[in-house]
């Protein structure tokens, strides 16, 4: 009898202990609430970012939709005929400037990236100094580059005058740090085992870089260049200083020609009092957004298409 009571008690105690120890039910604790709040904050952040973009888009579409059309690309700019004015000379100016930027910043940027990743003694203080400086340069306000371009390329030692080439050189300097950083990341993403495999076959360092490292890094480098260039397309401030501010109504004939660029042209139209110019400027914003969106999409496609899985 006594025995049975004990065993009954024991069984109860065991059951009680078990029920306390193992529970898979959801517990309403502070952790869960904190997790929810964190999630909501993150969602808010992305919403604000998207909202900003959407506002710009909607505003530009509403203001510029009646002026958005093919004649934007076929008509030159005008300061008194808003109905027939377009962006042709500004678009061509942008193309000349950006072509020059690519020509200057790709070889120099990729070269600098190769040197820093493959040749520089990374543990030395001067390598670190260079690295920190490049990262700083990427954050320097663009107007500073404009002043530099004005002093060096437009006047000063180069004395090119207010021409597209001066704009190209200025913007190339501006995006060079971005290209170098993107290039270094792409080169660093090529695993060391590829270099070892090549060197173990008796390849020189130069052959290894040229035949193995660079081809494997090309998608990353190209992606970085496109992103850098799409930043250059949108740049206005430095170009105002190096010549693009002049109101030109003719198409640029080459790198040594006077020029204007899309964002500067948009700015010029916005400053005019007539409402028609305002609509024209909004249509120009749409053109720019479309160009940038296309370039960034191309960069993403390129990265996904050619990305090497190691």
């Amino acid at each position: 009898m006594n025995n049975r009571v004990t065993s009954e008690r024991t069984r109860l105690a065991v059951a009680g202990a078990r029920s306390g120890a193992v529970s898979l039910d959801r517990q309403p604790t502070g952790e869960i609430v904190r997790g929810r709040i964190f999630w909501a904050l993150l969602l808010l952040a992305i919403c604000i970012a998207l909202l900003g973009l959407a506002l710009v888009l909607v505003d530009a579409i509403l203001d510029g939709r009646q002026r958005f059309g093919l004649d934007l690309f076929t008509q030159k700019s005008s300061s008194f005929l808003p109905e027939s004015a377009g962006f042709q000379n500004a678009i061509l100016g942008t193309l000349w400037v950006i072509g020059g930027v690519i020509l200057f910043c790709v070889p120099i940027g990729v070269g600098a990236a190769i040197y820093l990743e493959e040749y520089a003694a990374k543990e030395r203080w001067w390598s670190r100094l260079i690295e920190v400086n490049i990262q700083n340069l990427a954050a320097v306000p663009s107007i500073v580059y404009g002043i530099l371009g004005l002093a060096f390329f437009v006047r000063g030692p180069f004395g090119l005058g207010r021409v597209a080439l001066a704009g190209s050189l200025t913007l190339a300097l501006l995006v060079l740090p971005t290209v170098i950083i993107a290039g270094r990341e792409a080169i660093r993403a090529v695993p060391p085992s590829i270099r070892e495999g090549s060197l173990a076959l008796g390849a020189t360092q130069w052959q290894t870089i040229w035949h193995q490292v660079l081809p494997a890094a090309v998608p990353g480098v190209v992606t970085g260049v496109i992103l850098a260039v799409s930043r250059a397309i949108g740049e206005t401030a430095p170009l105002l200083l190096v010549g693009a501010a002049t109101f030109v109504t003719y198409n640029p004939s080459g790198p040594m020609s006077g020029y204007t660029v899309l964002p500067v042209q948009i700015f010029n139209y916005f400053t005019r009092p007539q409402d028609e110019f305002f609509a024209l400027a909004a249509a120009g914003v749409l053109v720019m957004l479309v160009v940038l969106l296309a370039m960034n999409s191309f960069a993403i496609w390129l990265r996904n298409r050619y990305e090497q899985k190691w």
Binding site: S193, R195, G197, L201, G202, A203, Q207, H211
Partner: protein, 294 residues
């Protein structure tokens, strides 16, 4: 001397030297390659990484057309020694090598020696298969192309793939990316790539550690075939593998420094593989191969 119970379980006791033998006889007696057949040799090899003494005073000779296995616990310096044999350690800025490593009697760390020339003659296969992100064909053709080898490239590629028994598996997809191959195939491709430049010595750094047993056994068969034409040095963690394929085995271990506590690798024993695995002289070798440490 050793207790009788231990000696009775061991292989026949080796007759002591009488002092009148030739160098070749002395080498054979000690289980070393005949001096005339030595392809590479380490003489007083010390390796440092910065101030860290990684390998201490290794004297080791590698026989021509033999497979030499380097075994030992992790961190004993066997991979470091291997990477000294074709100057791959040059790629580590802090690495410093003292002593001599000779290839055909020439010190490969000599002042006038070009490491590129060294690596063209002494190839290397790595632990993890590392094909280039290119087609199968280009993986093989890359080496011959950069060193400017003469001859029909298609022929060179086919020969290298046939030697490694890959030809029948890949001949219809030579233009496919090498990353589409299985791990074992990738490793055989890396061996084929190495063979394509006609090296003299092939160094293998744990070539099967990332592979399944079937692929491993294929690579082992391949090694035994390859030693007819090449001299092979292999680092392995797998003692059965060393016992199966190698002619001679060097056992390394790491001993902690009394003052710094750093573990410096050293060569403990070097002998014919059969003797290392059945009748090792050193207690540490015996403990290691019988699985008592490491």
């Amino acid at each position: 001397m050793e207790p009788a119970s231990t000696t009775s379980t061991r292989a026949p006791v080796i007759e002591p030297l009488t002092g009148v033998e030739t160098a070749a006889e002395r080498a054979r007696h000690r289980g070393l390659p005949d001096p005339a057949d030595v392809v590479m040799e380490c003489l007083g090899l010390n390796v440092f990484y910065g101030s860290f003494h990684a390998v201490h005073d290794v004297n080791l000779s590698f026989g021509r057309n033999e497979i030499t296995a380097l075994i030992g616990p992790s961190g004993c310096g066997k991979s470091t020694v291997l990477r000294c044999l074709n100057r791959m350690n040059d790629l580590i800025p802090s690495a410093r090598v003292e002593g001599e490593v000779t290839y055909d009697g020439i010190d490969i760390y000599g002042r006038a020696v070009d490491p590129i020339e060294v690596r063209r003659r002494i190839g290397m296969v790595f632990q993890k298969p590392n094909p280039f992100p290119k087609s199968i064909y280009d993986n093989i053709a890359y080496g011959p192309k950069i060193i400017g080898m003469d001859g029909d490239m298609d022929h060179i590629v086919e020969r290298a793939l046939r030697v490694t028994a890959l030809w029948d598996e890949v001949k219809d997809r030579l233009d496919d990316n090498a990353y589409g191959l299985s791990g074992g195939q990738q490793q055989r491709l890396c061996i084929a790539r190495c063979i394509a430049v006609s090296p003299d010595v092939i160094l293998m750094d744990e070539p099967c550690s990332a592979l399944d047993p079937v692929s491993t056994s294929r690579i082992e068969d391949l090694m035994v075939e390859l030693k007819e034409r090449y001299s092979i040095v292999i680092v392995t963690h797998n003692m059965q593998q060393a016992a199966r394929v190698s002619d001679r085995t060097a056992f390394f271990t790491a001993s902690p420094d009394e003052t710094t506590g750093n573990r410096t690798g050293m060569l403990v024993e070097y002998d014919k593989t059969a003797r290392i695995f059945t009748n090792p002289v050193d207690k540490r070798t015996e403990d290691y191969i019988s699985g008592r440490f490491g």
